[in-house]
């Protein structure tokens, strides 16, 4: 392999690994607290991509956007503040905004929701995070006291439900995603000074840089929340001893909801970046990345956040480089992850950074 190809693959691997890492963190955080594999996580990833798609390309009616914002607000409010308490200012501000938008666009000037790109991303992340919280509320919370296998089955059910609903609402046809021009116009570096060959060129699109950089920023933000804030302290405590943490005044359901919210926000961000890099979306697009990110989480040691990051990065690198070195194996690309899973489960079931599993699944 020539140097320029190697560097090219390196950039691809970095982006893919970062995306796997972002998704894997959501699996690992939920597992760390509930010992539950949230199979719907890959579908949350898909919803994030679709929400951006619909608000920037296939313009959704603005009243739908207003409705989604309103519901999001209600979900956040009922989860983190609770009905019957005095609502905080942000709640009223949001209600006013959503209601104003809904009335204006619903009755006065029906139009499409076509916000600037960045605003659409923020919108998608916030709404997806509320959907993640709702999944917990509807499908897992009623089963907290039930045997673990019940919640696991519920998770599989939710996953099928979201996928099928997406087929109905979005239609099953794959849709092409338009990549913003500025993100895919490649910089071209010449490696001639190193290799002495005028053909040694590396093409790097801004997207290939942006994906890992944004991923690292998001992960840094998450680590800050977990290790430097009070809710983060509660999350770390709950993962070891729920009862004692409750004795300290921590409301367990709020912390669990926050975990789902944060994990889903990261998955949405990953879904959006994924749809820009591999510019096509379809209702089942979350399955494969979701499964692989789950494998990455197991590889890194499920329950461990640094483990999920390392597992995601390593899986991304392996996938790209195995295909790069053995192009004839490229048809088996998706199989590597599963072979890795089997090897890990046989050789070191706790993963790279994991602690002893308390229970086999």
């Amino acid at each position: 392999m020539t140097l320029d190809m190697f560097i090219q693959h390196l950039f691809n691997a970095l982006a893919l690994g970062a995306l796997y890492g972002l998704i894997a963190i959501g699996y690992t955080m939920v597992y760390g607290i509930l010992r539950l594999i949230n199979f719907a996580h890959g579908d949350i990833f898909m919803l994030g991509a679709y929400l951006v798609f619909f608000s920037t390309i296939a313009f959704m009616p603005a009243w739908v956007a207003a409705l989604l914002l309103g519901l999001t607000l209600i979900i956040f409010y009922s989860t983190f503040v609770g009905f019957g308490k005095k609502p905080p200012v942000w709640f009223w501000a949001g209600v006013a905004l959503a209601a104003g938008m809904g009335c204006y666009y619903g009755f006065i000037a029906p139009t499409s929701f076509a916000p600037p790109w960045l605003l659409a991303v923020a919108f998608a992340i916030v709404v997806t995070s509320a959907i993640g919280i709702s999944v917990d509320r509807v499908a897992y919370k009623p089963l907290r006291e039930a045997p673990r296998i019940s919640a696991l089955i519920s998770a599989i059910g939710v996953s099928f439900f979201i996928e099928s609903a997406a087929v109905v609402v979005f239609s099953g046809l794959p849709r092409p995603v338009r990549q913003p021009e500025a993100m895919v116009k490649p910089f071209i570096f010449s490696l001639e000074s190193i290799t002495g060959n005028a053909d040694s060129l590396v093409r790097v699109t801004p997207l290939a840089i942006i994906v890992p950089v944004i991923s690292i920023i998001l992960i840094a933000g998450l680590l800050w929340i977990i290790y430097r804030t009070k809710p983060g302290l509660a999350m770390r405590a709950i993962s070891k001893d729920i009862e004692t943490t409750r004795l300290m005044g921590v409301s367990v359901n709020k912390v669990i909801a926050m975990t789902f919210g944060l994990g889903s926000a990261l998955a949405a961000a990953a879904g959006i970046m994924w749809s820009l890099r591999y510019p096509q979306i379809f209702p089942y697009m979350g399955m494969m990345p979701g499964l692989k990110a789950f494998i990455a989480a197991v590889f890194g040691g499920i329950g461990s956040i640094p483990g999920a990051m390392i597992g995601g990065a390593m899986l991304g690198f392996m996938e790209i480089f195995i295909v790069a070195f053995f192009p004839e194996l490229s048809g088996y690309r998706d199989a590597f992850a599963f072979i890795l899973l089997i090897v890990i489960l046989l050789w070191k079931p706790t993963g790279l950074m994991g602690e002893k599993l308390r229970e086999k699944i």
């Binding site: 302290l233 509660a234 409750r246 004795l247 005044g249 409301s251």
Partner: protein, 232 residues
């Protein structure tokens, strides 16, 4: 301060607490003693909101029985649970901060952490050590300190001297006395009946889920039945 009235606790078919009534006046140390399995922990766990029960627990004129644990501690009732229950992967200081979770007064929390460190200087030396690496006795100190961090009016200590060397037992009881002198109320569960009765204003003796004897600590110390059964 707190009144427990005819409390019953069941675990499936097991009737663990059978109509216990307690009166815990403000600023007093009340102790609960009894053999293993008498229902002491079940009683305080129910007060703390961890178990369901029947009967009434009256705090400031309101029945708090059945309220969730996270609400009880907000009402100023803290429990240092049986078996320490230190969070092993959090540092000593993080364990203390978790104890102060319901508070938002940064300066007050910092001051109280220093205060706990002054009570237990060994904790200060180990502030950044993971809780799980402390010795059993140090963990016990941390559990007591953590319960104090919520700045509670009533502190319930479930066997705070368990597994401590005699010298440290004395120290823990010293500290319990100090905490009372600050105006806090204490409900103390102890295997060490002599020390508990000596310090307590009032004591209840539990046997298989019922109160069989009660009275001021000093009085029970002289009671022949107590002497025989609990003081050896």
């Amino acid at each position: 301060m707190l009144k427990v009235d005819d409390l019953h606790v069941y675990y499936g078919g097991i009737h663990a607490v059978k109509g216990v009534s307690l009166n815990i006046p403000q600023g007093h140390i009340v102790t609960l003693i009894g053999a293993n399995g008498a229902g002491k922990s079940s009683t305080v766990r129910t007060i703390a909101g961890l178990e369901k029960g029947r009967g009434a627990i009256i705090h400031k004129g309101e029945n708090i029985l059945g309220k969730p644990a996270e609400d009880i501690v907000r009402r100023g009732i803290a429990l240092s649970p049986e078996g320490r229950r230190i969070l092993p992967h959090l540092s000593v200081e993080e364990n203390l901060r978790l104890g102060a979770y319901i508070r938002n007064d940064k300066d007050g929390i910092a001051k109280d952490i220093e205060w706990v460190y002054s009570l237990f200087p060994r904790l200060k030396e180990r502030a950044w050590q993971a809780g799980g690496t402390l010795s059993g006795g140090e963990q016990q100190m941390l559990a007591v300190g953590r319960a104090l961090m919520s700045n509670p009016e009533l502190v319930m200590l479930d066997e705070p001297s368990l597994g401590l060397a005699p010298l440290l037992v004395k120290e823990i009881f010293n500290i319990i006395g100090k905490v009372r002198d600050m105006g806090k109320t204490i409900l103390l569960i102890e295997q060490n009946a002599f020390a508990a009765l000596s310090i307590a204003n009032y004591a209840y003796i539990l046997e298989t889920g019922s109160v069989v004897l009660e009275g001021p600590g000093q009085e029970l110390l002289r009671n022949p039945m107590v002497k025989e059964a609990y003081l050896g």
